[in-house]
């Protein structure tokens, strides 16, 4: 739920309500109810960045920027061992924006199958659900994960989450509120079509699912799919369907960590969407990235979690790859980024990072960016 000025009151109300429920329950616990003992867990994560020049521009003369990019506080409460509530609130950009990351009820239907309902993180790609900053090596998340898959993406819905094959196979399948095509754009693709559960239009729904398998030896593979309507009954749009197909793999063994991902998005009736939003919206968006990282401290320290990752990543995506006849494609939407850097973890949950990005767009504009950051989770 993204709430920026001029809606601070709502943001505060939501935050305060969540906090007060926590305080009330904690008070009940303090009054001597042993049954509530250990039902809470508190967690959080955050990252602070220096970007030179600032992000979101190809202007070499743009100013440098420092930003408390995100500070997330989350908690879980177990009603019983089979029913729990879990939520996170994300204070972005030094708390100038508040976003409800997710808030759902989980009910175990069987030992390895649970029903989830509420504001759900969409199971698309490896990062959208699993995005604590120390888990990726770069200061900024892979850009494919923002521009093609609109991470962090949450919608209201219901579905199943489960595991099989002794935990090696995981799956999620949800019915959720669809995207809103009036937010689609040339440069950001479907990103601003996310509804975040903020009084979301629910004329169109969507199905989303993910399968992931962890093989022996450190290889894991995953695939995600999404299909749904996005016109939400908006006059002039006609019927707009969106589908996403995504595949990813990761190999981690010893000092080596390899990751890769490919994703494509199809938008139906995108000429109508382009006419309504006033800019060329793609009929197809795609992107890919590959990353290799090596832990220079592996096997050289007594501290099992201490690591110094050296990494390099190549990514290319185009948020305006194909357009309908009569809609002019924008070459600026094609971007190639090469990133190289380091990430030092004194402990697993804390990372000091620095990297350099080289950007090139479809009209051969180039930009170099220096990023430095600190990241943590608990």
């Amino acid at each position: 739920m993204r709430l920026v000025s001029p809606l601070p009151i709502r943001a505060v109300t939501i935050t305060a309500a969540l906090a007060l429920s926590l305080v009330a329950a904690a008070t009940a616990r303090a009054e001597g109810d042993p049954a509530t003992e250990r039902r809470y867990s508190i967690h959080g994560y955050g990252e602070i960045h220096y970007n030179n020049p600032e992000t979101g521009t190809m202007d070499k003369k743009a100013p440098a920027m420092v930003d408390v990019h995100r500070l997330v506080l989350g908690w879980e409460y177990e009603f019983t061992s089979s029913i729990r509530m879990s939520a996170e609130v994300d204070y972005e950009h030094s708390a100038s924006e508040i976003e409800l990351e997710y808030a759902h009820i989980e009910y175990d239907l069987a030992p390895t199958v649970s029903l989830r309902a509420g504001s759900l993180l969409m199971p698309v790609g490896p990062l959208n659900e699993f995005h604590e900053p120390p888990t990726y090596h770069s200061v900024e998340r892979p850009y494919l994960e923002a521009s093609v898959i609109p991470t962090t993406w949450q919608e209201i819905g219901v579905g199943l989450v489960g595991r099989a094959s002794n935990g090696a196979l995981g799956y999620r399948a949800y019915v959720v509120s669809g995207l809103d095509a009036t937010g689609f754009s040339t440069g950001s693709g479907i990103r601003e079509g996310r509804q975040h559960g903020v009084e979301a239009k629910a004329e169109d729904l969507a199905l989303v699912g993910r399968l992931e398998y962890a093989a022996k030896g450190g290889l894991s593979i995953g695939g995600s799919g999404y299909v749904g309507g996005a016109d939400q009954g908006t006059p002039g749009l006609g019927s707009v369907g969106v589908s996403i197909a995504e595949g990813d793999a990761r190999f981690r063994r010893g000092a080596l960590d390899l990751r890769g991902e490919v994703a494509t998005v199809s938008i139906g009736n995108s000429d109508s969407v382009s006419a309504v939003v006033g800019e060329p919206v793609a009929s197809r968006i795609w992107g890919l990235y590959g990353e290799a990282a090596f832990d220079l401290l592996h096997g050289k320290t007594q501290m099992p979690d201490r690591a110094l990752w050296l990494f390099a990543r190549f990514e290319r995506f185009d948020t305006n790859a194909d357009t309908e006849i009569g809609v002019t494609k924008d070459p600026l939407a094609e971007r190639t980024i090469v990133t190289g850097g380091i990430a030092y973890h004194p402990v697993r949950e804390v990372a000091f990072k620095a990297d350099l990005e080289h950007w090139k767009d479809g009209v051969d504009q180039e930009l170099n960016r220096l990023n430095v950051g600190v990241a943590f989770q608990f």
Binding site: V4, A19, V23, E31, G32, N166
Partner: protein, 189 residues
């Protein structure tokens, strides 16, 4: 400072206060109990418990659900709770415990950032020497046995006397049998 920012920061403090208060009840409840004012009856002691200490990501909902489902899937009737970075598998009633399966599922998990570091076991039963001369702990009512080691300063209870044993589980990293290493022996309730 904008009104939005002021309000957001105020909200942050409210959340932080909630987080801090959430940490106080255990102490408060403990104090109430110590002063004898608690009126809550103790829950019945479960037949057995297995505590599995984890290292890695145990904080996000995605990982916590995965850990729970792995534990519950292998516990075969046991109730699994995740408390911080520790899974607690509890068996309310007597049954043969799939101890090796529960441990193996978490020890050999293929998640990229989760490892099992220690296992603790708690159950009621009795000590006695087995036919091969090794000391064994036999669980009450089911007769399931585990090799057990008791070393000073703990005293080995008399053979056949019913006790509550808390022990570290050893041997799960290898392919051999599991052994219990006693950490606490007290009279069974």
């Amino acid at each position: 400072m904008t009104r939005a920012k002021t309000s957001s920061i105020a909200a942050t403090f409210v959340i932080a206060a909630g987080v801090l208060l959430a940490g106080t009840p255990a102490r408060a409840a403990g104090a109430a109990s110590a002063s004898g004012k608690s009126t809550i009856a103790a829950a019945p002691t479960p037949f057995a418990k297995v505590y599995l200490a984890l290292r890695g990501c145990t904080s996000c909902a995605h990982c916590r659900t995965t850990i729970r489902q792995m534990a519950k899937g292998s516990a075969k009737g046991g109730d699994a709770r995740l408390n911080g970075d520790q899974v607690e598998v509890s068996y309310a009633k007597p049954r043969v415990l799939p101890l090796r399966d529960v441990i193996k599922t978490l020890a050999e998990n293929r998640l990229h950032d989760l490892s099992l570091v220690d296992v603790l076991f708690e159950a009621s039963g009795s000590f006695a020497k087995g036919a091969d001369g090794t000391l064994r702990f036999t669980l009450a009512e089911t007769g399931q046995e585990f090799p057990v080691a008791v070393s000073a300063p703990l005293e080995r209870p008399a053979d056949g006397r019913r006790v509550r044993l808390v022990a570290v589980v050893d041997g799960w990293r290898g392919k051999g049998g599991l052994t219990l290493v006693a950490r606490e022996v007290r009279p069974a309730i």
